[in-house]
């Protein structure tokens, strides 16, 4: 116990000392930075992150290198970041559900308070989707259909969307056949071929926005989706959940405030940069925003509470 306290004090004073040194060295950054992405190259976070890194690099006057550390839905990257002593030279560009839901789904070495949130720059656009030629065309028809025809199937990708659909099924008194799929690439063929009736989509549906092959039934953002304005949100349908996801830049909580401020300034500029706006709003079809760090943290804290309640109500995760 005692040793632990001494250790803590040592770390704290070390951090303070380092912090004050860094404040004195007002010009941050003085060397190249690392942007860690917790997903594989080629995914939408990676595609967007690489452009963001370029734009940020110009505003900061230093190169920003992109490093992919995939695993555990972005959790591996966060676990490493939590132990970083890099004063903001290493930061993660990631999705908020890794912080809000990740620690609830499995034990993690980090939680909400392990990090400082620089800013939120993009809103997630995940959705409940279906395919063409189904006997239902909107959410209430789907529920009616499921009640009349047991065995309607749903393609899940994450523990979170599974929890949501279980909750919804319980509220509506229906049961679905819940089929596990491996990511958007695994879900799409099942939905398009009609083998599975409807499913969760993180962003895959955006690629089919023009052809209309993958209609959206429900928006899983806090507001309606930009590319599919006709689909209602969960709250509009009467379910008291706001699963909206934010793409956020975060640093370890021991990072000097001056560095965080400098990064936030550069991020705010990046959200006005046409290149970042183009890749985000036209390629992956997500809205660009700028949400300050404090506001991001408050929103995530609220989300964590509502997920905890949801899990309790469902009697734990299965």
């Amino acid at each position: 116990m005692k040793i632990k306290t001494i250790f803590k004090t040592a770390i704290l004073s070390g951090a303070i000392a380092l912090g004050s040194v860094a404040v004195q060295a007002a010009d941050f950054p003085t060397k190249p930075l690392n942007m860690v992405i917790g997903f594989n190259p080629g995914g939408s976070t990676d595609i967007q992150g690489r452009v963001l890194a370029n734009v940020l690099g110009e505003h900061l006057g230093q190169q920003v290198n992109v490093i992919n550390r995939p695993g555990a839905g972005g959790g591996v990257a966060l676990a490493q970041l939590a132990n970083s002593r890099d004063e903001g030279y290493t930061f993660v560009f990631g999705t908020s559900s890794t912080i809000t839901f990740g620690p609830l789904a499995a034990p993690t070495s980090y939680d909400l308070d392990s990090f400082s949130y620089v800013a939120g720059v993009t809103l997630g656009q995940s959705a409940i989707v279906t395919g063409e030629g189904r006997p239902f065309s909107n959410w209430s028809e789907l529920i009616e259909y499921a009640k009349a025809n047991p065995g309607v199937s749903y393609a899940t990708q994450t523990t979170l969307d599974r929890l949501l659909i279980d909750y919804i099924a319980k509220q509506e008194g229906v049961s679905f056949r819940i089929v596990p799929t491996a990511g958007g690439a695994g879900m799409a063929p099942l939905i398009l071929s009609g083998d599975v009736d409807f499913g969760y989509s993180g962003g895959t549906h955006s690629g089919y926005a023009e052809t209309g092959e993958m209609p959206v039934l429900v928006s899983l953002a806090d507001d309606r989706l930009v590319a599919f304005p006709d689909a209602p949100t969960l709250r509009e349908l009467g379910y008291e959940i706001d699963p909206g996801e934010i793409r956020v830049v975060m640093v370890p909580n021991n990072t000097p405030q001056s560095h965080i401020t400098r990064l936030a300034e550069a991020l705010e500029a990046a959200t006005k940069d046409p290149r970042f706006i183009e890749i985000t709003e036209e390629r992956i079809l997500m809205p660009v925003v700028f949400i300050e760090g404090e506001a991001v943290k408050a929103q995530l804290a609220g989300q964590i509470e509502s997920y905890k309640q949801l899990i309790e109500e469902m009697g734990g995760l299965n």
Partner: protein
Amino acid sequence: MPDFNAVSDAFAIALSWESIFVIFGGVLMGYIVGVIPGLNRSVAIAIAIPLTFYMSPYAAISFLIGLSKGTAAGSAVSAILLNTPGEASSAATCLDGYPMARDGRPRTALKIGLLASVIGDLLATLLLIGVAIPFAAVALKFGPYELAAILVFALIFIAGMAGGSFLKGMAAGGLGIVLGTVGLDPETGAMRLTFGFYELMEGVPILPLVIGTLALSEMFVQLDEYRRNRNQSAINLGDSKKDDLSWKEFKMTVPTILRGTAIGAFVGALPGLGPSVGSFMSYGAAKRAAKDPSTYGKGDPRGIAAAESADNAVIPASYIPLFGLGIPGSVSAALLVGAFMIHGITVGPLMLREQPEMLFSIFSGMLVASLLMLAIGWYGLRVFARITNIPQHLVIPIVIFLCLAGIQVQGYGTFGLLVVFGFAILGYFLKKFDYSFVTFLVAFIVTPMLELNMRQSIILSGGDAAILLQRPIAVVFIVATVLLLLHFGWSAMRQRKKAGLTRED
């Protein structure tokens, strides 16, 4: 059908200086590995995967494909000059290549081997491109029922065809399946067989597994053999003017090369058979077709042409099930799946829809690799002849170093080292007791896909087998699998009886 722009863009990528440089590097490295008897293709690919971390996915895959093609061509050099095949699959090349070289015509023999390699490779690559795309277009329509049935069929087929005993093949496959299920359960997220290791959550890491079982264990085997035969020296190339390939002689071998390519491509497209089967089948066919078969085995150029053309044709053809169905049919294809995975790409028919540019770039890169192989082999003849003399005591430590360094590059740390050594020991015993390697590796690689599709089928059908009546393709493969099992089981039993009768002790 893919539009013309995608195809021409793909060629533009494959013909850029940067990509030619990468492919050149791959083919050259493959050639050297092929020439050195102690180093084989799977060792080379396994230790080269970490080298590709910092390349773009296209460059990485082209590099690895160039590498595996290069080994097939390079292996002829040591077969001809040293009477020791650089790859097991060039053993048939020794039969006529070494006598011809001893008769004072080593350069002619090498050139025939090279031309046969390049022609076999190029034609089989064109076949791959022609066949894989329509194949993938059909496969895209497969649902979970069909995929699960096809995967089981492929696994049983490989276990039975990969040589050795069927039971041992099944055992090796079973071991691969068990290792493939380690990690998070795809449906419930429960931890399976992780024994509390956080590192195993995403499954057994593929890189330490392949480096351990393929590369490091092979070095142990080589060390074993090194103690026995140390003194071998290669035939010198010499400067004789008479020793050159004439147009007439080349023309004589062309029909053999074409036959060899056809046989190699056929064998390659079937999962599990591998290049050794292809080259010996082709050699046998050439000998049977000859008017005077007695010249074979005494330095007949057609013998070299038959073996080498088939040996090389197998490689591109073995990628047909890979790109068409997502099923790796050979060790090198299984390693490619691993490399694709590391770069975040799921290889298979979906590539045709989601990343057509990538698919066409890889195909054009493969054609570029064939041509570079010709240039490298032709102008590097003398250099490669020298390399055959590199002593084992230099090769083995370097490879062991690269194995261990490769693990560190991906940041596996101490855990990775433990896994590598664990699998190296496993691989050593698999080799010693002749358990099928291909079956083990392919089973490990396809298990997550098989499991997911199987479970999707069961959930979607609600456990009702009657759904199969609406799925004729799945039924065909299930029936074929049962017949295959009966066939292999029956012949394994007959063999055992025969062995029991002859061995009366």
